[in-house]
Symmetry: C2
Subunit: 468 residues, 2 copies
């Protein structure tokens, strides 16, 4: 146990050493000003920080590969160091006056995202998260087609329905097929009515990672006039992965047809929370953002990011962290960053394969589309299956494996799984988001715990402690 | 110069030492898991961090007391350390599953804000910033009075007009008096029409820090039915200051009448960017936020902050930083935190006093209401005054004093300042936000540079280099 802590601490020592060196370098840039030391941190501050550390023990170990539950992972150390460094300046990317350097880094970082999607031109900025990014996308869409509806699949994030309501836009939910992908026939019937202004296409739903058929939806644009907003908050970066299924690949390859894209660097981009992004294909939508402010942005010949964002004050540190991470791990197909995504996806396929061979579990009709796996417990009814899933979830946690639970339609599973179940029923499934590059290397450890937890529940065998 | 860098670096060394100690303590809580070291930071990472530090030199020295321009200041070192610590866990305060400890700390931190406003009950949460907080306030207001207008003063932040438009709510601008405070007669005429659903009362406008007469607006509620939203994003913390004018004090003392309050800890609360807050007096408005999600929040007997927020993923680190800062510097009248605010306000009064005695400048009709000072350059016309303000701004910057510029109505100045000027005209003023506690101690240094810059412009005397 002592050894284990030691390993982690060594990495942290290195982080703080580099941070200290970078801080010295940063301070040198302002060394011709009269001295003005920051308030010192005293014994009381040390005690409060220690108390904060103690309180943070009350968390699941999100950073550890045995945490394989919700979509949570720690930022890359370089992102954390760059964020911590930039906090000493505390730039505000609203205006150049408040963050000249970090605004330039934001523009570069957002351009790298646009380039990843093969967009030669764009207008965009970082946001505090996916919600605000999606809100801006739907707001612009609503301005361009006032009164028309927003349509998204029944597996799309709930924020689209709620944000549409916040914006006063009618919202329509489109059914999904048995793989959780938007039903094209249902979409076309809706488009025929002429009431749809915007279709939200989700590339990677947050529940199961399903990928809407963007390529086929884009073809519908030849017959019907509508705007395509791609919500790739979770799945956007998978466009770099070489091991997608041909169907998912086709969807990603059609991304040039999107009118707007949301992607969250704080999900798969190795960033701390507070880093979403919105991209528009047509820079002209910038005029919707226009406003007047009495403070003179005195460096106003250049673009202030506040002029193309609904958010006012925004953390420049977030841009510095993303910029530094992109420098270390560029968005190159086949590069280290892309390999990290491919690794998570390979882990998902492998886990699904093992689950499908197990007598305890039922896997859905389709294999994972990205890196999210879900499965049900074999049982006579969805109700018993749901209860068992909860038990296995609890047993796994006792073995330090942290999974998640999700209520999903029974129709996602092969016909006959629960013969008497109605089509509209849901079942509580076990769910695992294998989003850490390390998950693949840890798959045997993960799998042995899944099996042990299932054995404990099915055979009333107490779970083995700490399987290796 | 070497000595100066050294002083700052010592404070940073202490910060990183405490951070390292707290990190060890945090890691110990997870030491019974199999070892899984984080990716190491190598030479390339060190070079990238150094490059980021170099690029960050292209900023005004926001952290230094001679930066007295826009509302920018660095977070307190304990906030920065706590934020950096929490980033290793990277909690997501959307759901307890994603940040149990940091959610609890957020609830405590928001309760401390409510207590500061003397609210015994509240519903509220942190937000990524003031814009989203104000959006939620106006969204709830709109739900309660659909179709009715939002009214705010012509000095209120531009976000209210734009957000109202985003929400599809009619917006009305109310004129201000010559001190930049909402005109009560004009407000009452509007209320008589019965069309106003919500009045946005700004306690501390971002341009000049003017404080709307909330006490008198609250009295109007006895005759007219409307909702009061207090935008105290900038000025909220001044309720703790003992040196407000009686008029401003009366406004703050009426804050219990507000239906909602926005305050930004990232402005006066010593936090890094990404920390706003929204408080509602009536917890029942929580039902507007209701949504369904397929992921089971398995610890769902308790409140998940995502259930009372429009934002989904949110940085738990932001809550940890605010909580730690509140522990070190509680919101106690007369305490060290309150004294910091009082110090900035005293600096503003002193600067205004010196300006009023100077032959180079004209001060507005009313002294500063909070800690923001603005003044015009004495000249025959607003146009010449504006040009001179820009010149003095540039000269001051050459002397390391960084001020701001603002276009403000000429009516804020005594009648006859520009005899031939129309009432509707604006003039470019010099502006200084004295929001750092250290500004008072540095006032002589600030003032000597203001005088030198003015002399240089008026007398064509080259500015003295580095006045002491």
């Amino acid at each position: 146990m002592v050894r284990r802590t030691h390993i982690r601490a060594m990495a942290d020592n290195e982080l703080f050493r580099l941070l200290n060196a970078a801080q010295h370098h940063l301070d040198e840039g302002f060394s011709d000003l009269p001295p003005a030391p920051a308030p010192p941190l005293d014994e009381q501050a040390a005690a409060i920080l220690k108390e904060a550390a103690t309180r943070l023990h009350d968390n699941y170990p999100y950073a550890h590969p045995l945490y394989a539950g919700q979509m949570l992972k720690p930022p890359h150390p370089i992102a954390r160091a760059a964020y911590a460094l930039a906090m000493s300046v505390n730039p505000n990317n609203h205006a150049l006056d408040g963050g000249r350097a970090s605004s330039a880094m934001e523009i570069e970082a957002v351009a790298a995202l646009a380039k990843m999607f093969h967009w030669p031109h764009h207008l965009g900025h970082l946001s505090s998260g996916g919600t605000f990014a999606n809100l801006e996308a739907l707001w612009v869409a609503g301005q361009l087609a006032p009164g028309k509806s927003v349509a998204a699949s029944d597996q799309a994030h709930y924020t689209h329905s709620r944000i549409s309501s916040v914006l006063g836009l009618p919202f329509v939910s489109i059914p999904t097929d048995n793989n959780g992908r938007m039903d094209l026939a249902a979409l076309e019937r809706l488009l025929e009515t002429g009431s749809i202004g915007t279709v939200v296409v989700t590339l990677g739903t947050t529940a199961i990672g399903s990928v809407d058929p963007l390529d086929q939806i884009a073809q519908l644009q030849q017959r019907y006039k509508f705007r395509i907003h791609v919500d790739a908050a979770y799945g956007g970066y998978f466009t770099l992965a070489s091991n997608l299924s041909p169907v998912a690949r086709a969807a990603y390859d059609a991304i040039a047809h999107a009118d707007s894209i949301v992607v969250d660097p704080h999900k798969h981009g190795l960033q701390p929370y507070g880093c979403g992004a919105i991209l528009f294909r047509d820079p002209a939508v910038g005029h919707f953002y226009k406003h007047d402010s009495p403070y003179t942005y005195f460096s106003s010949k250049e673009l202030h990011l506040g002029e193309i964002s609904l958010e006012c004050s925004r953390a420049g540190a977030s841009a510095v962290a993303l910029w530094a991470t992109q420098r270390l791990l560029p968005y190159t197909p086949g590069g280290a960053f892309a390999q990290g995504l491919e690794s998570g996806r390979a882990a998902a396929l492998e886990l699904n394969q093992r689950l499908s061979l197990s007598t305890y579990f039922v896997t859905p009709s389709a294999p994972p589309q990205l890196d999210i796996v879900f499965w049900a417990v074999r049982a006579k009814t969805p109700e018993i299956s749901s209860t068992s899933a909860q038990h296995i979830f609890d047993e796994a946690a006792r073995l330090d494996l942290h999974l998640a639970l999700a209520n999903l339609p029974t129709r996602f599973f092969p016909a006959g799984t629960w013969p008497d179940s109605e089509q509209t029923k849901t079942v509580t499934c076990l769910r695992s988001v294998l989003m850490k590059p390390e998950h693949l290397a840890w798959l045997d450890q993960i799998w042995s715990r899944v099996e042990s937890a299932a054995e404990a529940v099915f055979l009333s065998i107490p779970p083995r402690n700490q399987p290796q």
